[in-house]
Subunit: 350 residues, 2 copies
DNA sequence: CCGGTCAATACAAACGTTTGGATTTTGTTC
DNA sequence: GAACAAAATCCAAACGTTTGTATTGACCGG
């Protein structure tokens, strides 16, 4: 519990002024090479670390990047976030920054949190996901001038960097897969209306259905939980089991469908078909194995981190006034659940 | 982009000194009720927010709590962390604090990160998981005097608060379940040696096997990835398929076993049995449904958050010199994979 | 009406760093 | 060796709070 070692301590021991010590450590050309070395040496020896708060106050920058976790955040809600946090922190640390996390309980709270971050200077930049077209969080950030990167499109995306997954393509993939043994009506299970990625998914799915001459799919905009998936499945499966096809935006929803089907004595691949999303662990081993798409979380995390760091490097708008945009294609994983199998062997499906 | 509103602005507009304004906002009994109201009003109107850095500098406290994410942090490595972050941030925000996250690439880096947090005052307290008996991070924290809560036991746990999951019980649960139709030799797949929760699991499993008069299980200390599970399963299943039983500390490992079995044409429940852990989404729908245990992430997260807040409330050691300890019992989820089924119907297993 | 008490507020220092400008030291040139 | 430029260093202010102490004014008893 000995006294903290600050610039003052170093300066005292070296017989110079704190300002010189400070400049020496920051490689200011004004200090002589020799003194710089001396300072460095002592700083290393005493294990000097600059006080983050003092620096933040003086420089008007917190040295932190915030990640906003959107609700709902139950157990496996968005598998990518943990990977994002981990990857991002590693990159930030290399750049001398650190990571702050904010989690909102409900959507309304999100904009308050953003405002708080801006006003109290809790971070120098923000990453936010689950965007909407006219996202109030984005509007606020644009107005405040704080740098940010979105994970998902917005109506103002020409004014900020963005990374997104091509959910429209995911929707097309799902319909195309289900169409292969096109059976009964198609039900699309997607996240609530307004959420951009879900809107894209639905749009892609509908467009593809139209292109293939299929009847318009029934849309269900629900929370992405197994429970919500069950609720929808129950409604669909109860009355008329005419081999419906389920396009689910996330595997968690598919699992809900599986559960209801099992309880009702229905067999996926004979009485109904299912296509999932996000390739949750375990989805490969369900009976039958779940056809789905994957989104390469580590790649997305890496990309978001890099984009954020580049955004911070240049201060202010990039010279040519444009911002980085990246679109990531979902990868199709065709297994068994998307198609009907005449007889139901159901064992040893590779 | 108008100028930031600080105490100075308020004081100027109100014609008083900043100190009075500060005290008014902090409910100091020294200010008159009337002025306090006036200050409050203007502060609300101008939407005043105290500058976090300045406060941190002055008070010597950052107002943040750090969570250390242990490696490896791939996709679904530790499902609980996201829930923890979310729950924790909500509680912290209510208390006027915020959340910082640090992710280490490798174990060696973890202690450096802790040192950095302590030295640069990046946080006022830390939560760390994946503890070891003699954990160097814990040793460092004890020495520094920074408050912290561990998720898992240590050799010094009488000196800090702790929350843990009873993994010994989980090990016993697994063996007992597998014993029901006790077939061939038992293989225990657990996380690397030294990690406390894994050591407990192994100890519990071995003790239970001994108690039941079973031959000593074979131990495999591996990373908790599907890949690692596969590697072990391949070695076991290749030579002698004498109905081995797999006790896996996490479902991800079980999934690896499932995959190898499927590829080899073996059927879980006929040629081998499996018991998992952590109840991953999808584990209910595998063929056959995976028997496992669950750990109620939301409860753990809630508990850790509460303990941390209580630890911060009292500054210094609690009066009676003891710290909170909590043990959470795993919940048994008996499905199908743990037992042998004579004939292999394998359809419609509820 | 004066000394004293108390409430309410103002003053000023401090937290550890960065940075513009003043000051000292060093080196060069005549 | 004096004059001057350049290099190196020091001084002091500032960032926005919090908090110990000094100051002011009001009220009271004697």
């Amino acid at each position: 519990m000995q006294k903290r070692v600050g610039l003052k301590t170093l300066a005292l021991k070296l017989g110079m002024d704190v300002s010189t010590v400070s400049r020496a450590l920051r490689d200011d050309p004004r200090v002589k090479e020799a003194t710089r070395r001396a300072v460095r040496e002592l700083a290393d020896e005493l294990d000097y670390r600059p006080n983050a708060a003092a620096r933040a106050l003086r420089m008007g920058k917190s040295g932190r990047v915030a990640v906003l976790l959107s609700p709902p955040q139950q157990r496996f809600a968005s598998p990518i976030f943990l990977e994002l946090l981990s990857t991002l922190d590693q990159h930030l640390r290399d750049a001398g920054l650190s990571l702050a996390v904010f989690a909102a309980r409900e959507r309304a709270e999100e904009v308050d949190i953003v405002r708080q971050i801006v006003d109290e200077r809790l971070a120098d930049a923000i990453i936010l996901g689950r965007t909407r077209k006219k996202d109030p969080r984005v509007a606020l950030l644009l107005e405040s001038g704080m740098p940010f990167v979105t994970f998902g499109q917005t109506d103002w995306q020409e004014r900020h960097p963005m990374v997104e997954i091509d959910y429209a393509e995911a929707g097309r993939l799902a319909i195309r897969a289900l169409h292969a043994s096109a059976s009964g009506p198609i039900d699309v299970l997607a996240a609530p209306e307004g959420l951009n990625f879900a809107d894209n998914y639905v749009a892609g799915a509908c467009a593809e259905a139209a292109r293939l001459g299929l009847p318009e799919p029934t849309l269900h905009r629900i929370e992405m939980t197994e429970q919500a998936g069950e609720d929808v499945a129950r409604k669909i499966l109860a009355p008329h089991p005419q081999q419906p096809a389920f396009a689910c935006i996330q595997d968690s929803l598919s699992f809900g469908v599986y559960r209801v089907a099992a309880a009702a004595g229905l067999i996926v691949g004979r009485d109904l078909t299912v296509f999932g999303g996000q390739n949750f662990p375990g989805s490969e081993h369900t009976a039958p194995p779940l056809s789905t798409f994957s989104t390469e979380d580590s790649h997305v995390a890496e990309l978001l981190s890099k984009v954020m760091l580049r955004r911070l490097a240049v201060d202010g708008t990039p010279v040519d006034g444009t911002f980085e945009h990246h679109e990531i294609a979902p990868k199709l994983l065709l297994r068994q659940s998307h198609r009907l199998i005449e007889r139901a062997p159901l064992t040893r499906t590779g």
